[in-house]
């Protein structure tokens, strides 16, 4: 008996001691005494090794289940989109003129018709890219929209009343109603990818290329043929289908679930030609595995998992440059307006404002996220890289928050329980549906496994407690942290607040409108927020020609607080060899543009 328990207990003790010993070892390694690596420079290298999950979809028409970011980057490296974008505010409709295959659309017919002219581009086999390749794409997606991951009912292509090819270089499309052109270009035309009709328009490997996709039935057959080929990764590098590309790279080697090598496409017709000969995409089984290899200096570009952020200085001492990659995203704390108990509280704008004033975004970003987060002030992301919260509608101000609560009939008890003492609907009373004695006590469902998130909610809980607002933090795994939208009568509607933004809550397409997030009944409006004015402004962002619609929508929701705006963690903390150039600025849309990369001479 004794020996068994003794062994168990000793095992535990040994385990704890081991943690300490390992910690001691790591602490010893954390000094700056490590020998400096090479000081950058190419050393004759023309290859870059990148930590990158193995893509498993090559067809540039997204399919359900294959929409991971690595697939988007992979297909874009081989097949250019009609339009590429830049979010620095310098270009019309955010179109990146250099990378795009067409000129900016010309708008006519009261905003309904967009005429697009292709630039002079060639496929890698020397054939020109023409409107026939655009038509081919159109035929495939319209006939197979149920199998297209980017399809949304009522969206592209349902909202196209007329599609017309004018000549080899020009085509036009007329929408069913007038859209905001910036919205349409950013969020609808971003899906168009010219496809090599002269190679792909067939329904089997042995068939000859024809005009099969011009009929819906034929388009279905072609689509099935292409998707079947795309579901066979082991043949990616050998299948003739994938040899002709429009992008700056060609596939040199593909190992299923393993390494992928991209080689510079010598016949690439774009102006952003690759500067490196090869890009090696190396997958890792876990973040820890990737980080160990990064620490060993065996990859040129990788990322620091959030849990290892404290090792930034160590990596810098090993000749890596650490760069936060700001995403085109926002992060927020979701409020459940339909909660049968606390929903009435969240419906009070003053209460949301008071709680927002207790979130000290700048300090949390700086101290807890170590600068690897940016403020969220409203539904439209701040310009990537912005770190101050000066433009936020509600800055950190506990005194003002207290005044706000007391002015609405709450008896504020610091570090106690703040309760409603003046029920009613008058200006100085708690508000509709709030009974006397109602406390301000909420449960936050948050993600486990993120140290910074845990610390952030310790801070927010502490600030709220100072005004007698009791937050209970319940950490749950990622898979259940995204709480569902619900009706008050449903059992699943018991959640108060939820946070799933440890790596950003929501990543936008180019035009950051909120029709999917904050309009009444929207699919990702998890908190069931509803405000007619917000709905009107959101609709304006989609359908108004007014270029200030997006600003008006952002300004209104920034103040109305459909959610509590929270620090927005970076998409990724990148680390790359200091000799590698062209990595920054990193694309907020989360694409890699390897053709910009080169080694310092």
């Amino acid at each position: 008996m004794r020996s068994r328990f003794h062994r168990r207990a000793l095992r535990g003790t040994v385990a704890v001691a081991s943690v300490l010993a390992i910690g001691a070892g790591l602490a010893a390694c954390s000094g700056d005494s490590g020998s400096k690596g090479s000081q950058g420079g190419s050393q004759g290298k023309d290859t870059v090794t990148v930590a990158f999950r193995t893509p498993n979809w090559i067809l540039p028409i997204s399919a359900p289940g294959f929409t991971q970011g690595e697939n988007a980057t992979f297909t874009t490296a081989l097949y250019r989109h009609l339009y590429e974008y830049q979010l620095d505010g310098s270009a019309k409709y955010n179109i990146n003129a250099e990378r795009s295959m067409a000129e900016a659309p010309v708008v006519s017919n009261g905003g309904k018709t967009l005429t697009i002219t292709l630039k002079d581009n060639k496929w890698s086999d020397g054939k020109p890219v023409t409107t026939k390749d655009i038509q081919f794409w159109w035929n495939l997606v319209t006939a197979n929209k149920d199998k297209w991951a980017s399809y949304r009912a009522g969206g592209f292509p349902d909202n196209i009343a007329d599609w017309k090819i004018t000549d080899e270089k020009t085509f036009s499309l007329t929408t069913t109603k007038a859209y905001n052109t910036a919205w349409f270009v950013g969020n609808q035309l971003n899906r168009i990818v010219p496809l090599p009709q002269h190679i792909w328009d067939k329904d089997s490997a042995t068939a000859s290329v024809g005009d099969l996709a011009s009929t819906p039935a034929g388009a279905k057959k072609v689509f099935d043929f292409l998707t079947t080929a795309s579901k066979d990764p082991k043949s990616y590098a050998t299948n003739e289908l994938w040899k002709v590309t429009s992008g700056p790279w060609k596939l040199d080697k593909y190992v299923p679930n393993g390494e992928v090598v991209l080689a510079a496409q010598p016949t690439y017709s774009g102006s952003d030609k690759p500067k490196l000969a090869k890009i090696v995409l190396r997958p890792f089984t876990s973040d820890d595995a990737e980080f160990n290899v990064l620490r060993a200096g065996e990859i040129d570009y990788g990322y620091i998992p959030p849990a290892n952020l404290s090792q930034q200085s160590y990596l810098e001492s090993k000749d890596y440059k650490v760069a936060p990659w700001y995403g085109w995203s926002i992060t927020y704390l979701q409020l459940n307006f339909n909660n049968p108990k606390t929903g009435v509280l969240f419906k009070q704008p003053y209460l949301r404002q008071a709680m927002q004033m207790l979130v000290d975004q700048p300090t949390i970003n700086k101290v807890i996220w170590s600068g690897m987060a940016a403020p969220s002030c409203g539904p439209v992301p701040l310009k990537p890289g912005t770190t101050d919260a000066n433009g936020c509608a509600y800055s950190f101000d506990p005194a003002k928050a207290k005044t706000l609560l007391e002015g609405h009939g709450w008896k504020v008890t610091p570090d106690g329980k703040t309760v409603c003492q003046a029920p009613g609907t008058a200006e100085n009373q708690c508000g509709e549906g709030i009974a006397a004695g109602t406390p301000l006590a909420f449960t936050v469902t948050s993600q486990s496994g993120f140290d910074a998130t845990t610390k952030m909610f310790s801070e927010i809980k502490s600030q709220m407690a100072k005004l007698g607002i009791e937050l209970t933090i319940k950490e749950v795994p990622d898979s259940v942290a995204v709480t569902p939208a619900c009706k008050p009568t449903e059992a699943t509607c018991s959640w108060d607040m939820s946070f799933f933004g440890s790596q950003g809550s929501w990543y936008y397409p180019v035009f950051a409108s909120g029709e999917r997030l904050f309009s009444t009944g929207a699919p990702v409006n998890l908190g069931s927020y509803s405000n007619p004015e917000a709905d009107r402004l959101i609709e304006a962002t989609q359908f108004s020609a007014d270029e200030s619609a997006l600003k008006a929508y952002n300004d209104f929701l920034a103040k109305d607080l459909p959610v509590l705006w929270m620090p927005n963690p970076v998409y990724q903390i990148s680390a790359y060899k200091s000799g590698l150039q062209g990595v920054e600025p990193q694309d907020p849309m989360n694409y890699f543009y390897f053709q910009d990369w080169s080694w310092k001479n």
């Binding site: 008996m1 207990a9 300490l20 910690g23 807890i368 407690a465 209970t472």
Partner: protein, 308 residues
């Protein structure tokens, strides 16, 4: 005045070489146990360590006041001795020494309560199964076997993910699965005790099974139970540490040593050693203390080691 009889080789006035055992002075069982326990130096060290750690954790905050509710982002990661923090501060500005005391309270309370709960449940289950025998024993022990076949840490994690972790909940979760070991041990003791003459006699006189378990089986297995309880407490403290290390411990601002150790490990590369060593060393010391005490208690309850 009486004259002592002369015995060859024994000086007059000296105590006799041997006396009838029935006439030997018999010390109380508990006193003997305490005496044997005290002879085990390590057991005394363990007891002293436990008293010291418990004293620091529960009485320390009375003399060393810190704010363990409000964060202070202006004072994060201060080193030991800086700005009046003997052990520095952590990543949200909590005083590390105060946090160690607060965390120790949770670890010790959960460890003791879960250990006692597990021992109580296991003792009852094992005693009933062992005394009843037959199909009752088989059925009850198959339940134990079945539950033992599931890794306990997995079960703890599953439950901790479903319910909101709190101190009472952690006690219940750990206690609800840690009783299996004591149940098997006590069942073994009960199997041997139930055939003893005094139990047979009690049954012959009409004593019930319940009385036998309550008045004879459990009291006679108490040595095994108490020794085992110390190891259960040590195990429970480690389980709390494991769960907290996996992010399933009590939510902030509550603390426990396992959670502090986990946080400290994340900060290791930053050179914030004071976040790692103190909770780690505290866990080692408290677990060792209970192990040493368990060893001493085993000696104390082991009849063969007692003086006669």
């Amino acid at each position: 005045m009486t004259t002592l009889p002369e015995v060859p080789g024994v000086p007059v006035g000296a105590p006799p070489l041997a006396v009838d055992a029935d006439e030997a002075p018999v010390r109380g069982l508990w006193r003997q146990g305490v005496s044997v326990f005290c002879e085990n130096r390590l057991a005394l060290v363990g007891l002293g360590l436990f008293i010291l750690l418990a004293g620091v954790c529960f009485l320390g905050p009375l003399v060393y006041h810190t704010d363990q509710v409000h964060t202070d982002l202006a004072a994060v990661h201060l080193g030991p001795g800086e700005q009046g923090h003997p052990l520095g501060t952590d990543g949200v500005g909590y005083d590390q020494l105060g946090r160690l005391m607060l965390g120790g309270q949770t670890s010790i309370v959960v460890g003791l309560a879960a250990g006692i709960l597990a021992t109580f449940l296991g003792t009852l289950w094992g005693a009933v199964a062992g005394f009843a025998g037959g199909w009752v024993d088989s059925a009850m022990m198959r339940v134990v076997d079945a539950m033992m076949s599931i890794p306990s840490l997995f079960l703890f994690m599953l439950l901790a993910a479903i319910v909101t972790p709190s101190v009472p909940m952690l006690i219940l979760i750990i206690g609800a699965f840690a009783w299996l070991g004591p149940a098997r041990l006590v069942r073994g003791e009960a199997l041997s005790l139930r055939s003893r003459e005094y139990i047979q006699a009690m049954r012959a006189m009409g004593g019930t099974g319940g009385r036998a378990v309550r008045r004879h089986i459990v009291p006679n297995a108490i040595g095994t139970v108490i020794v085992n309880a110390t190891f259960q407490v040590a195990d429970a403290i480690l389980y709390v540490a494991y769960l907290s290390f996996l992010g399933l411990g009590v939510p902030p601002p509550a603390a426990n040593w396992g959670g502090m150790l986990s946080d400290g490990l994340a900060d290791t590369y930053s050179g914030h050693w004071w976040l790692l060593y103190p909770p780690g060393i505290a866990i080692i010391l408290i677990v060792l203390a209970f192990n040493f005490m368990g060893d001493g208690l085993r000696d104390a309850f082991e009849v063969r080691l007692r003086r006669r």
